[in-house]
């Protein structure tokens, strides 16, 4: 009940943020742009629309999570609204989870709106609703939840600008960490390999949530991969939220 109240309040607050609408506007423009790209392409034009559309959902969703998520807790501390809020009978973890779910809900609504436009655009070309796209969108949402938790973590102890940079770095590293896997396969066993393996396991691998190519090109995906990615998303998010909570629960609000 208390987490729900804070989450709904966070949603109300986030939904008023102009940055959100600016990003939504650019996302819609980007999805629309895929139509133009399709016209300039030889071969399967619908695949271009799907490719660019899904990439837009992922990128602009992540930007929304970063730019709004990093200010969530900081704003409460900076504006001192946290004083009265935490003086009420709530635990600090309830506050933090409320913030997380509030932003996750906001992102869900934004992703839902963008998806409708995206699916409508595909429908105009194929006259079928490509429900399969929802699988890729679901994993984009899982990725956004993880990015939100990271933004929230940094927001607990840093300013929005620094937090945005840190979270953006996390996002970029997360999408390039798979390169380490190639490195691990190439180097000789020993200290270097062990270190690379340790680093690979510690760094996030956001490519686990990337099913765009498989879905767009109708490639087969084993169900175990879906399960792995889902569990990876849930547990990594819980792990980051736990660290955020450990920092937040001992913090002095001077």
């Amino acid at each position: 009940m208390k987490i729900k109240a804070i989450a709904l309040h966070t949603l109300k607050e986030a939904i008023r943020d102009r940055v959100l609408y600016l990003l939504l506007f650019f996302a819609v423009v980007s999805i629309g742009f895929s139509r133009l790209l399709a016209l300039l392409t030889l071969g399967d034009r619908v695949k271009i629309i799907k490719d660019v559309g899904l990439a837009s959902l992922s990128l602009f969703g992540a930007l929304m999570a970063i730019l709004i998520g990093t200010g969530l807790v900081y704003k409460e501390i900076d504006k001192k609204t946290i004083y009265t809020l935490l003086s009420k009978p709530i635990h600090r973890y309830q506050f933090l989870l409320g913030k997380f779910f509030g932003l996750a809900l906001t992102l869900f609504i934004m992703l839902f709106s963008m998806s409708i436009i995206f699916l409508a655009l595909i429908f105009l070309h194929t006259f079928t609703i490509e429900w399969k796209m929802l699988i890729a969108i679901f994993y984009i949402f899982l990725e956004l939840c993880l990015v939100t938790s990271v933004a929230l973590l940094f927001s607990c102890f840093s300013t929005p600008i620094l937090s945005s940079l840190f979270t953006l770095a996390f996002y970029i590293i997360g999408h390039t960490a798979w390169g380490l896997e190639t490195l691990i396969n190439k180097i000789q066993p020993g200290f270097g390999k062990t270190m690379a393996q340790a680093l690979y396991h510690f760094l996030p691998d956001l490519e686990n949530f990337n099913f765009k190519t498989e879905i767009v090109h109708n490639l087969p995906i084993p169900s175990s991969i879906f399960l792995y990615s889902t569990l990876y998303g849930i547990f990594y998010t819980l792990f980051v939220l736990t660290i955020a909570l450990l920092i937040f629960r001992k913090r002095d609000f001077i």
Binding site: K2, A5, K80, T84, L86, P89, D252
Partner: protein
């Protein structure tokens, strides 16, 4: 009956600056607030009043010491559920209307919808904001924010209300309104812990006070115990007597339109002044004996500290 608030040997140090430098803010605060009283917590700026309140509310964690609210550990939800808090310079969600704001906070007390609606209506009426219930908080004046702050502090019908500088920045009328609400709270059996440096107001409404200087309580007790009833001097406003005739009897403060304001320190000199006025067929316009005030005590303590 357990004390509403019991603090024992509270210490708090902050590390401030880019290269952290430790600064002791609270140096062993001990105090006890009885149920049903208005307790004034006085101190100059930077003495540690707000830090003490933040410790009580669990917003900052003390280095050492014990805090209990109604016999419960201060961080327990049970203790928090019986407490209301109004911060200094209240900041709230300015995009919400007054009733939306109170509704959000009342949900944190797990109140049912009907109960919330009734409570919000009652509180908005109590603080005189029923006409502004649909107005966004960003359009509120300083006094209105203070009043909505008081309303949110009373949402849970708290047994202990912590008010941090509730009268600061208000005009005389606003101060009187808040003062009246505080007195009403006491009449309802609530305990009020009030930090302030507006001493006149404290003197008017508080049962007991503690004076905090540099993180230490230098004096505490009932106002009667702290302030001596001995007359310090008498101020007499008179006319019809030459100023030079009064020179040896007291200190002349002002002279305006033939009226002299005289400060007389010895009681026998008061008699002499009155006799002199009578013999010169003059007139005494006012005669006010001045006993020690809380301000005198406070200034003395701060200077000593």
């Amino acid at each position: 009956m357990a004390a509403a608030l019991n603090i024992e040997d509270l210490h708090k140090t902050f590390s401030l600056g880019f290269i952290p430098k430790k600064k002791k803010i609270l140096k062993g605060i001990s105090l006890s607030v009885n149920q049903g009283e208005i307790f004034g917590y006085l101190g100059p700026n930077g003495s540690g009043k707000t830090t003490t309140i933040k410790c009580i509310l669990g917003l900052i964690f003390p280095d050492q010491g014990k805090i209990e609210l109604f016999g419960h550990p201060y961080l327990s939800l049970r203790a928090k559920a019986r407490t209301g808090f109004l911060p200094e310079n209240p900041y709230f969600y300015d995009h919400l209307t007054a009733s939306e704001f109170l509704d959000f906070y009342s949900q944190l007390f797990s109140m049912k919808k009907k109960e919330r609606e009734d409570k919000i209506k009652y509180l908005l009426h109590m603080v005189g904001l029923e006409q502004s219930s649909d107005l966004q908080l960003r359009k509120f004046s300083r006094g209105m924010l203070q009043r909505i702050g008081l309303a949110q502090a009373l949402l849970n019908d708290p047994s202990l209300v912590l008010l941090d500088e509730p009268l600061g920045g208000l005009d005389p009328l606003g101060r009187k309104e808040i003062r009246d609400v505080i007195v009403k709270l006491k009449e309802e059996g609530k305990t009020v812990f009030l930090s302030s440096h507006i001493l006149q107001d404290i003197e008017m409404i508080c049962d007991r006070v503690a004076i905090l200087v540099n993180g230490e309580i230098v004096n505490q007790g009932t106002l009667k115990d702290l302030i001596s009833e001995k007359i310090l001097f008498t101020e007499i406003e008179l006319s019809g007597v030459e100023e030079k005739e009064l020179k040896n009897l007291g200190e002349s403060l002002t002279e305006k339109a033939g009226r002299i304001l005289l400060r007389v320190f010895e009681e026998e000199n008061v008699e002499k002044v009155l006799e002199l006025v009578q013999s010169r067929k003059g007139k005494v316009h006012s005669l006010i004996p001045r006993t020690e005030t809380l301000e005198d005590l406070f200034v003395g303590m701060v200077k000593q500290g």
